[in-house]
């Protein structure tokens, strides 16, 4: 079940809200949330819910064990065992086919490639549980004694299948003691509807255009079509993922939880370093706190540490070499920015550093989109005019003209401009009125588009 489906919005969500707010005690509310989260997951993953439960059990007991022997060598064994078991689950389900393919290729063997389907959200909840046991080991949080409470943290449906990666230390207190107020619920409803609009009205349309051009053979693409295709993918992936994060944050608020922000207008950045401080913040901070700093950060072996983090960031996104190249590409860029380019970028006019960032991000998305590297390089050749393709296209002119308002609105919404202007122009009661009218329009329009639409995949579901 995805958030942007009629089944979720008009059946699952109202039943949940009614049940949740019809009970008073926090214990009952948590029980309702746990049952509904497990139902939500089982609906989309009826078999592999077992993996989620096993992962929950492993880390619950490891947490207790590490907490009990905190500060001793036994705790160290516990954390090593927890990390090995968690990563084994991830490798078995996500990377086994990739590993076998590469072994067959390198050693010319013919091992049968395992046909394992990826359990939805495994990359997200595995990282959440790793962060929990590591934080217990570091003494940052107390081990959770109640299994149902721990399972609620692991399986909570707002963030379960596509993030953000919520750390136990951030919501442990909220699970046990939280209060909801009108302002928080109103804010949550607003965030959910904004996220829904980003996904249904912007990401899906941009995605259909991206597919239209990027799935074509590069021999039949014009230069402008190639640019349009990759720009639409650039918009799609941002609105798709940030829309999902908005919906997750909004749903969290409706049920009394405050999650940290996961996006902060990444396309207004002026360097790759800044881009990754604004894009998928929960993943970046996970790798910083649990991999980069423990490896030594920038104090020793900085290049090696950076490359390790970016190799992992790449492979986390998918078991394919293009994701590894995409990750390392950003690793090298960030290293170069630290050592040389960064100082130059700061001195350059803002417009030039913005253009630099957009070009490097667009090249990055090309590697991200095409699992076949030959296709990626052929596409880049067309993009930068090295393929002797025609420049313009009548078909593209019609598509742009037919969707010009949407394209302009989507581009503006990638920047904080609309938010800042909106807050300046609409103040007080007028702002509240605009908010209500805007949200009603977005919800009804999204409902209409969902009734009429079959194209509705979430890109980050495959991670």
């Amino acid at each position: 079940m995805v958030f942007s489906s009629l089944l979720f919005i008009y059946l699952f969500l109202p039943i949940n809200i009614i049940l949740y707010y019809s009970v008073k005690s926090r214990k009952c509310k948590n029980t309702i949330l746990l049952i509904s989260s497990l139902c939500f997951y089982a609906w989309g993953e009826p078999v592999w819910i077992v993996v989620l439960l096993i992962s929950g059990c492993i880390d619950y007991y490891h947490g207790l064990y590490i907490g009990r022997f905190h500060g001793t060598k036994w705790a160290k064994y516990g954390i090593v065992s927890s990390i090995i078991l968690n990563l084994s689950l991830l490798i078995a389900f996500k990377y086994s086919a990739f590993i076998y393919e590469n072994i067959n290729l390198i050693f010319n063997t013919s091992f049968q490639i395992p046909d394992v389907t990826l359990p939805i959200g495994i990359s997200f909840y595995t990282f959440q549980t790793i962060s929990y046991t590591v934080d217990v080991y570091r003494g940052k949080v107390q081990a959770q004694r109640k299994f149902s409470t721990f399972l609620l943290y692991v399986s909570m449906f707002p963030q379960l299948v596509a993030g953000p990666i919520v750390r136990y230390s951030d919501i442990a207190e909220q699970i046990e003691n939280r209060t909801t107020n009108i302002s928080q619920i109103s804010d949550g409803v607003n965030r959910f509807v904004i996220g829904l609009g980003k996904k249904v009205l912007l990401a899906n349309t941009a995605g259909s255009f991206a597919t239209m051009f990027m799935e074509r053979s590069s021999g039949s693409l014009t230069v402008t079509e190639a640019w349009f295709g990759i720009l639409m993918f650039t918009l799609q992936i941002y609105f798709d993922f940030s829309g999902y994060s908005d919906m997750a944050i909004g749903l969290g608020k409706i049920f009394g939880f405050e999650y940290k922000e996961n996006f902060n207008y990444p396309y207004v950045s002026r360097s790759a370093t800044e881009f990754w401080r604004r894009w998928h913040i929960s993943l970046g901070s996970f790798f910083r706190d649990y991999v980069y700093i423990p490896l030594g950060g920038n104090r020793k072996n900085e290049f090696f540490n950076l490359m390790t983090v970016w190799f992992l960031t790449g492979i986390w996104h998918g078991a394919s070499w293009n994701f590894v190249i995409w990750g390392l590409y950003f690793g090298i860029l960030i290293y170069l920015e630290k050592k040389m380019i960064g100082r130059i970028l700061e001195k350059l006019p803002r417009i030039i550093s913005h253009c630099y960032l957009l070009v490097v991000v667009i090249i990055g998305w090309t590697f991200f989109y095409f699992t076949n590297m030959n296709e990626a390089f052929s596409y880049l050749k067309v993009l930068f005019g090295f393929a002797n393709q025609s420049f313009a296209s009548t078909e593209l002119n019609i598509i742009i003209s037919n969707n010009i308002f949407l394209i302009v609105i989507a581009t503006l919404l990638c920047t904080p401009l609309v938010k800042v202007l909106g807050e300046k122009v609409c103040k007080g009661a007028m702002y509240k009125g605009c908010l209500i009218i805007g949200n009603v329009m977005i919800l009804i329009l999204c409902t209409a588009v969902l009734v009429n639409e079959s194209y509705n995949p979430f890109l980050y579901f495959r991670f």
């Binding site: 008009y10 059946l11 009205l201 009734v451």
Partner: protein, 103 residues
């Protein structure tokens, strides 16, 4: 009560109201079997079986059923078509889509 709290309550009331009305009407309104405009049979409610649930086909069929049985479906499709038209500038009433032919 503060003005901001009242407006927030109105906001929540309207938004939750729309969802609850959609939810209630979904169960109350009679369902059609055939769509005259689309010239197709609408998705029936699937029969449950352990096999169909485990292979996810039951969940997919239920989602299709909800889409096809949603209240005011015809009007919502018209609204969606209107939204499609106002996304940009369209010249004339008859449109011709030009496709590239791969050589």
């Amino acid at each position: 009560m503060k003005n901001s709290t009242i407006s927030e309550m109105i906001h929540i009331g309207i938004m939750v109201g729309i969802i609850i009305v959609g939810f209630t009407l979904f169960f109350l309104l009679p369902k059609e079997n055939i769509s005259e405009n689309e010239k197709r049979q609408l998705t029936p409610f699937p029969t449950f079986s352990a096999e169909s649930f485990l292979n996810k086909s039951y969940a997919q069929q239920v989602e299709l059923y909800v889409n096809d049985a949603f209240p005011f479906r015809g009007q919502l499709i018209e609204l969606s078509a209107f939204y499609n038209d106002v996304k940009g500038i369209r010249s004339g009433t008859d449109e011709i889509q030009i496709y590239n032919i791969q050589k």
